[in-house]
């Protein structure tokens, strides 16, 4: 079984979806001849032709709006926005149109489209390339928000997102694109959407995360195990609709929960999970739910990136506090 990186897994999923379904098209800036600035679409144009792997003008609203028009007309477009900082301008199209099309036509028109964009900090890029916009997208009713954290989940969840009859915003953790490899069968099998993945079982504390921070969260769990503390690690994977049942069941077992995200703290998706735990899991908790987040500041330029993002130490500190609460 070949070992692949996360960005290679994205590429394999796109190729598999395009080979299996002639209605799948890929569009975006530099996705064709160049194969994408991160090479996520490498080789697709040669294999499937320029009509289905479309280099667009530099116009994000056109890319997103086009994908909506294509989807309504029966294609399955996968649109790439080059960096998440350029995706904010697409929120109008996603919120006002993609998310509403099926409902406002009472089922007459669907909008089966995927908007892919790399997300998150930690690769020392210029301004506007390190954003964590997941909570903004997760606030929009009528769409799915998917954020994988490993090559295998990126592959299976992207296949599922392309096959899904409704719009999906698919966030890709840039920092993990080439950080590690996993065995991948390229078997065309989609993973289930709308469900969390329990990556590690444990009875002492529940650690919940998504995207690139799952990596640090798993590292923290390994460190804790060396100290005799067994953490359950949940990768949320689909932020909306949120599988709160899995998180509640875990917390019912452990009684303690730390939620980890690299997004700014206030109004973050960690807050949504903490609020749900307060509403539905209060009596199972031995300690307050703790959030490990970045600060309520704009994402700093590269020299302060590490000081901004949570790391394993900050997760461990929060865990120790949570465990010590009596």
């Amino acid at each position: 079984m070949p070992q692949v990186t996360l960005v290679e897994a994205v590429n394999l999923a796109l190729a598999r979806a395009m080979a299996d379904d002639g209605t799948v098209v890929v569009l975006g800036e530099d996705v064709g001849t160049d194969g994408g600035v991160f090479r996520a679409t490498l080789g697709l144009r040669e294999r499937f032709g320029p009509e289905r792997v479309i280099d667009t003008p530099l116009a994000e609203q056109l890319i997103t709006g086009m994908a909506i028009g294509m989807a309504v007309e029966g294609l399955r477009p996968v649109a790439e926005i080059q960096f998440s900082g350029f995706a904010y301008i697409c929120i109008d199209q996603i919120l006002n149109h993609a998310a509403r099309m099926r409902h406002r036509t009472q089922g007459r028109m669907g909008c089966s489209m995927v908007l892919r964009t790399p997300c998150g900090a930690g690769i020392h890029p210029p301004e506007h390339h390190s954003e964590s916009p997941e909570a903004m997208f997760a606030h929009i009713p009528g769409i799915r928000v998917v954020y994988p954290s490993s090559p295998r989940r990126a592959y299976g969840l992207l296949l599922a997102s392309i096959q899904d009859p409704d719009p999906v915003v698919f966030l890709e953790p840039t920092r993990l694109y080439r950080l590690f490899k996993e065995d991948l069968a390229d078997d065309g099998k989609p993973f289930a959407l709308d469900t969390c993945f329990t990556l590690r079982e444990g009875a002492d504390i529940t650690l919940v995360s998504w995207g690139a921070m799952v990596h640090e969260t798993l590292q923290a769990a390994s460190r804790l195990e060396q100290q005799g503390v067994f953490a359950e690690v949940i990768d949320v994977a689909t932020l909306r609709p949120l599988d709160m049942d899995t998180i509640l069941a875990s917390v019912a077992k452990t009684g303690r929960c730390v939620v980890v995200t690299e997004a700014p703290r206030s109004g973050s998706f960690a807050s949504e999970i903490a609020a749900n735990l307060a509403e539905h899991g209060l009596l199972t908790l031995f300690a307050p739910v703790s959030r490990v987040t970045s600060y309520d500041v704009v994402v700093p330029l590269s020299r302060l990136e590490n000081a901004y993002m949570p790391d394993t130490e900050r997760i461990l500190t929060a865990v120790r506090k949570c465990l010590a609460f009596a």
Partner: protein
């Protein structure tokens, strides 16, 4: 000096304001039965429009954007569309929707606050009303891309206003459609006003049609109060699009004879004299004069038409007023193809709460 580009913009008119032909009538408008049929549609559309206003004024319809004065644009453009083409509109194209087969009941339901009004029984390929200005121009590009990819001879027709031509998405759409030579007609109703902002404050450009030049596509201005001109210009654009020759921008010059919407009072910002002068150029009287002049229409037929339009509109109104409100489940149903588990609890709460009337009382 080296000149690297020159352009000119044609303006087309066949009927003057009195309804006299100013040049030879094109083949597309020589069949008197067709012209009479289109005239009937225009009168029906205006009758319906005025009824919608009356319903709003009496508290029986929500905020409504009248299309008074743009009937020739809507009916002329729709007249060149085939059933399986795709119409994308903003909120002032009631007449075009009527011509496309969207029922009066459906439009009344939509403007009366019921999503079921956008589930058109006919016109299945037509997009729902787009309120966010110019965003639908990009949808037209995507729809046309799908048509071209499949090798179809269909066209996407995207209608917007002069205000929309100031937006980035309008230009992004024109530009993209030009790059891929897509079968799109961009029809801009230049009715001189975007709510209170006059045409001269939208753009320093002499015409809106010339915005096509920057996108490398044909642009033409047409007298939007002249049905024959609108139909002919739209037909030429549609034929080019179906033949794989790409998009066209049509600027149809007209005047918004109504307020922006029922929530607006245009007397706050424009002169009564300007409005009165615009009424002299309006499209229905102009076409009627032409039809009377070539003796294919009569005063008695006019009277019968007005009565039948009023009857038809009243029947739709009666059906609308008798239509039950949607059940609260409508908020959840069709949000996704399959209802997500995560929404089940909220749906249950809404159903248990039941319908809530305007005063906030559960019923």
């Amino acid at each position: 000096m080296t000149i690297v580009g020159r352009f000119e913009i044609e303006s087309r008119q066949y009927l003057d304001v009195q309804g006299r032909s100013v040049q030879e009538i094109p083949e597309s408008a020589r069949d008197p039965r067709l012209l009479v049929a289109l005239y009937r549609q225009m009168v029906l559309a205006r009758t319906f429009d005025q009824k919608m206003l009356a319903l709003q004024r009496t508290g029986q319809l929500g905020t409504f954007a009248s299309g008074l004065g743009k009937e020739a644009i809507d009916i002329g453009v729709a007249s060149v569309m085939r059933e399986d083409d795709c119409l994308l509109i903003t909120y002032r194209e009631t007449a075009a929707q009527l011509a496309r087969g969207v029922s009066m009941l459906e439009m009344l339901l939509y403007w009366g606050g019921d999503e079921r009004g956008s589930n058109y029984a006919a016109a299945r390929k037509d997009f729902p009303v787009c309120i966010t200005i110019a965003s639908h121009c990009c949808h037209a590009v995507g729809a046309a891309y799908a048509m071209k990819l499949r090798g179809e001879s269909r066209v996407a027709v995207c209608m917007s206003g002069d205000g929309a031509s100031s937006k980035g998405e309008f230009y992004e759409a024109l530009n993209g459609a030009g790059v891929w030579k897509l079968p799109v007609l961009f029809v801009v109703t230049n009715n001189q006003w975007a709510i209170s902002v006059p045409r001269k404050l939208q753009s320093a450009a002499t015409t809106l049609a010339q915005k096509a030049i920057a996108a490398g596509i044909p642009g033409i201005q047409v007298d939007g109060n002249d049905l024959i001109a609108v139909r002919q210009v739209a037909l030429e654009a549609a034929e080019r699009a179906r033949a794989g020759q790409g998009p066209t921008l049509i600027e149809a010059v007209s005047y918004r004879l109504s307020d922006h919407t029922t929530a607006d009072d245009a007397s706050r910002y424009r002169d009564a004299d300007e409005l009165a002068a615009a009424w002299q150029r309006e499209p229905i009287g102009r076409l009627r004069n032409y039809l009377l002049g070539i003796q294919v229409w009569s005063r008695s037929e006019e009277e019968a038409l007005l009565k039948s339009c009023l009857d038809e509109v009243q029947r739709a109104t009666d059906a609308y007023l008798a239509h039950p409100s949607p059940a609260p489940a409508q908020m959840f149903d069709h949000l996704f193809a399959s209802p997500p588990t995560a929404l089940a609890a909220q749906r249950g709460q809404a159903l248990a709460r039941g319908q809530v009337d305007a005063a906030g009382h559960a019923g």
